[in-house]
């Protein structure tokens, strides 16, 4: 369990956008995709996904349409809108800057100061 990181507040939206950017997905597929691209390091509570999805649709970052899944079941598929793609780019850059800054800050050694 210790190999799995708690996701930080606010990062769930970013992860969903990233997962969907790789191709249209239904809700369960998004969970699997996040597990896959994070090397199973990030686990998301199944129920927590849906409020986020509905919120992103409302914000116009995702659009949803009903279709048929690989299991031959009806499922609602999500994909990025243009606004969603832009938001993903911005948030990714912001995250990278933060991560780099945090990384270098935490890597600082006494003699470097």
């Amino acid at each position: 369990m210790s190999s799995q990181a708690q996701i930080l507040p606010g990062t769930l939206d970013l992860l969903i956008l990233k997962a969907v950017s790789l191709g249209p997905l239904h809700g369960y597929g998004i969970l699997l995709r996040i597990g896959q691209i994070s090397g199973k390091a990030l686990l998301i509570e199944q129920g927590a996904l849906y409020p986020a999805l509905f919120r992103l649709v409302r914000q116009g970052l995702l659009k949803a349409s009903w279709g048929v899944s690989e299991n031959n079941r009806r499922a609602k598929f999500y994909e990025l809108t243009a606004l969603g793609r832009k938001r993903l780019r911005e948030e990714t850059e912001g995250w990278n800057r933060l991560a780099a800054a945090m990384g270098s800050a935490l890597a600082a050694e006494p003699e470097e100061i």
Binding site: H26, G27, Y28, G29, E45, Q46, G47, Y50, P51, A52, F54, R55, R58, Q59, G60, S69, N71, R73, R74, A75, K76
Partner: protein, 718 residues
């Protein structure tokens, strides 16, 4: 953008609620099926896989709730939920609900009625263009707005503050339109009246200042809309028709618009005619009589940029001029400005004070109702402490519980407000068509408008919140653990303190209300049983105006004597008397300046008193049941050839002569120098209104009097 999206989402969810719900339900089911498929593939059988998938997924309702919240619209959802819940709770306690709603309906209804009257009479301006700059001229020194015509003309022509100063007077006349002659109430107005008020005719034209060329030069009539509607059946060909007013021909030149109902509240005239023709209506020329004050009100719009204070200064400088120029007729008039529609301040101020007082009492009543309901609610919240505790224990937020309680309170207050408003609207509508004095076309224009509805709504909401607030502390202090365990509330002492306080407030307010209504009722009873100076029992009043039939001069008393004789022959009639203005009937009497016999300076400032004066036939006192204290009453020999005599009341005798004994046989003087001998003294009475202090009054033999007062004996009693 975000806000727009929010509203869009709220609206969408509100209108497509079931669709969204179904959508969400299906998506969650699809999720669980996919998970089940995965688990089944890993080797579990289908049933077990589905069970596991459901467990992993967690509470579906909770997630749906979170989704709903993330979608916005939760406020409305919660509101709908709360309203449903409150309705259910209230239905369970119908006794409480009905009492609470009725209490509020009465309190809010009373407030709405009083506010409706205040609004209709005091707050709502005259239905005229730019009512804010319209002012009436008030005589502060005489406490009424009455003017003489020459004074009005001076004010009109010399002031620099008014755009145009108009004048009006209410009077009555006999009108013959070719059918049955009938009595009408009309305004005599200055030629510039309609122009000064910036009103346009509905039909035909209005008269103007340019139509006036000296006495009786403008025999024109402008009909009021209502009179045109009822007496001319909306006949557009009425313009140009000639009608007889007191036997003088007048031409109808136009019709006033429906919304123009004159400039005095309570009193909408049948038609308007130029004041310059007053002699044909009043039967005497008083256009040049500076001492005769007969114009009810002078009014006009202030010029742009002139403040009321500047206007008052301007008017008072004219007042000084009038005093200097006409010292015989004038004290120094002191002018001020007033709300024109309430007959100046003399009536306006008392109406306003009365209504404001009434409004305060109604407000207190509502407050008492709120205190009452507040303690009811507190008691109820205490009874429901277990329910509250249970809900808290199950994880409900305190804020949410308070919201529910508030929803209940506001629901009750809205229901009460609605019922109260419904009742008050019915009452106000009734009041508006009610004619309090059958003799006069007086109405109380209090038709409810948006203001009344608004105030009732605000009162309902405010009172709902007020008494809803009472149990808040109680809920906030609830300790679910303690209550669920022990089955009672912990903070017993506290709660009783709050409710005791409310009880004290309630009792105090009720005491004030009961006391004030007792005082009012006692006052009324006392004035109804006080001594009027005449006996109103078994008296019938007949009213005639001979000038309407074209009688004037010497022919009037002659005709009146014949009428009295004729009335006396009617079976059952005990006594017949005649007086020009029966006391307490019209309320508008001439005041005469009274001077002591030795006075040589007969200017108003030197007067010993002012007295109501009545003209009467010899038998009046007998017919009216007024007690003669000393001396004699008149006979028919007290005519023009005989010395002037008067009967005075006790107040008059005491005020002018010091005592009744000194008065008898002695003389006093009128403004014009006439010496009059006191031949009799009668008891004092009420003349203008029931609440009057007693005042000097004198009675002189008829010279010309338009009123018959007949007393009938009751045929069923010996």
């Amino acid at each position: 953008m975000k806000l727009l999206g929010y509203f869009h989402s709220v609206a969408a969810r509100f209108f497509h609620r079931s669709q969204t719900e179904a959508d969400m339900e299906e998506e969650l089911r699809s999720h669980i099926q996919h998970r089940t498929d995965d688990l089944e593939r890993s080797g579990l059988d289908r049933a077990e896989a589905e069970r596991r998938a459901r467990i992993e997924f967690g509470g579906r309702e909770r997630i749906k709730e979170e989704v709903r919240e993330s979608l916005g619209g939760s406020f409305i959802d919660i509101l709908v939920q709360d309203v449903r819940y409150s309705l259910r709770v209230l239905r369970k306690t119908p006794g409480f609900t009905i009492v609470a709603v009725l209490t509020l309906a009465l309190a809010i209804g009373a407030n709405a009625v009083v506010f409706g009257i205040l609004n209709g009479i005091v707050l709502r301006p005259l239905n005229l263009p730019e009512p804010r700059s319209l002012y009436g001229i008030e005589r502060s020194d005489e406490d009424d707005p009455v003017q003489s015509y020459p004074d009005y003309v001076d004010l009109r022509d010399r002031n620099r503050s008014f755009d145009s100063l108009a004048a009006c007077r209410i009077t009555e006349a006999g009108v013959d339109t070719g059918e049955n002659p009938s009595r009408v109430f009309l305004y005599e107005v200055s030629g510039n009246y309609f122009d000064a008020l910036r009103v346009q005719p509905y039909l035909g034209r209005f008269f103007h200042a340019s139509d006036e060329h000296g006495p009786n030069s403008a025999p024109y009539i402008v009909l009021g809309y209502a009179y045109w509607h009822t007496h001319f059946q909306d006949d557009r060909g009425v313009v140009g028709r000639v009608v007889q007013v007191n036997k003088h021909p007048f031409t109808v030149i136009g019709v006033a618009p429906l919304e123009f109902r004159g400039t005095l509240v309570f009193f909408t005239p049948d038609f308007y005619l130029p004041m310059i023709n007053e002699e044909q209506v009043e039967g005497r020329n008083i256009l040049n009589a500076r001492g005769t004050e007969w114009i009810y009100l002078a009014l006009g719009h202030l010029k742009a940029g002139v403040t009321p204070a500047q206007a008052v200064a301007d008017l008072n400088s004219i007042g000084s001029y009038l005093e200097r120029t006409y010292p015989k007729e004038h004290g120094k008039p002191i002018y001020s400005l007033s709300n024109p529609r309430l007959y100046g301040d003399s009536l306006g101020r008392s109406v306003q004070m009365f209504l404001t007082g009434l409004m305060l009492l109604a407000g207190l009543m509502l407050l008492a109702a709120c205190a009452n309901l507040g303690s009811l609610f507190a008691a109820r919240a205490a009874d429901r402490s277990r329910e509250v505790a249970l809900r808290l224990a199950l994880g409900a937020k305190r804020a949410r519980i308070l919201r529910t309680l508030f929803t209940e309170a506001v629901l009750i207050s809205l229901a009460g407000g609605a019922i109260g408003l419904w009742g008050s609207v019915a009452l106000l509508r009734g009041l508006s068509v009610w004619q309090p004095v059958p003799r006069y076309p007086a109405t109380v224009p209090v038709t409810p408008d948006a203001n009344v509805y608004g105030v009732a709504l605000i009162l309902a909401l405010v009172s709902g919140i007020l008494f809803g607030l009472v149990p808040v502390r109680q809920v906030l202090r609830t300790d679910p653990y303690q209550i669920v365990k022990s089955g009672s509330t912990g903070a017993l002492g506290r709660r009783i303190t709050v409710r005791d306080l409310l009880l004290v407030v309630q009792i105090a307010i009720c005491a004030v209300l009961v006391t004030s209504s007792m005082v009012a009722v006692r006052g009324l009873v006392r004035s109804l049983h006080s001594n009027f100076g005449f006996d109103p029992r078994n008296v019938t009043i007949v009213e005639t105006d001979l000038s309407m039939a074209g009688y004037s001069g010497e022919r009037v008393p002659e005709m009146q004597k014949r009428m009295l004789d004729a009335a006396r022959t009617i079976p059952g009639v005990e006594a017949v008397g005649l007086i020009d203005w029966p006391p307490l009937i019209s309320g508008a009497y001439g005041d005469d300046y009274i001077f002591r016999d030795q006075a040589s300076d007969l200017s108003p400032s030197n007067a010993a008193a002012t007295a109501y004066s009545f003209r009467m036939s010899p038998e009046y006192f007998q017919a009216a049941g007024t007690t003669l204290l000393a001396g004699r009453t008149f006979s028919w020999h007290d005519d023009k050839g005989a010395p002037r005599v008067a009967v005075v009341n006790l107040d008059f005798a005491v005020k002018i002569f010091g005592s009744a004994g000194n008065a008898l046989g002695h003389f006093f003087k009128l403004h014009d120098g006439t010496r009059i001998q006191v031949v009799g003294i009668v008891e004092s009475g009420k003349y203008k209104g029931l609440t009057d202090d007693s005042a000097p009054a004198m009675f002189v033999p008829i010279l010309q009097s338009p009123t018959l007062w007949i007393k009938f004996g009751n045929p069923f009693e010996p």
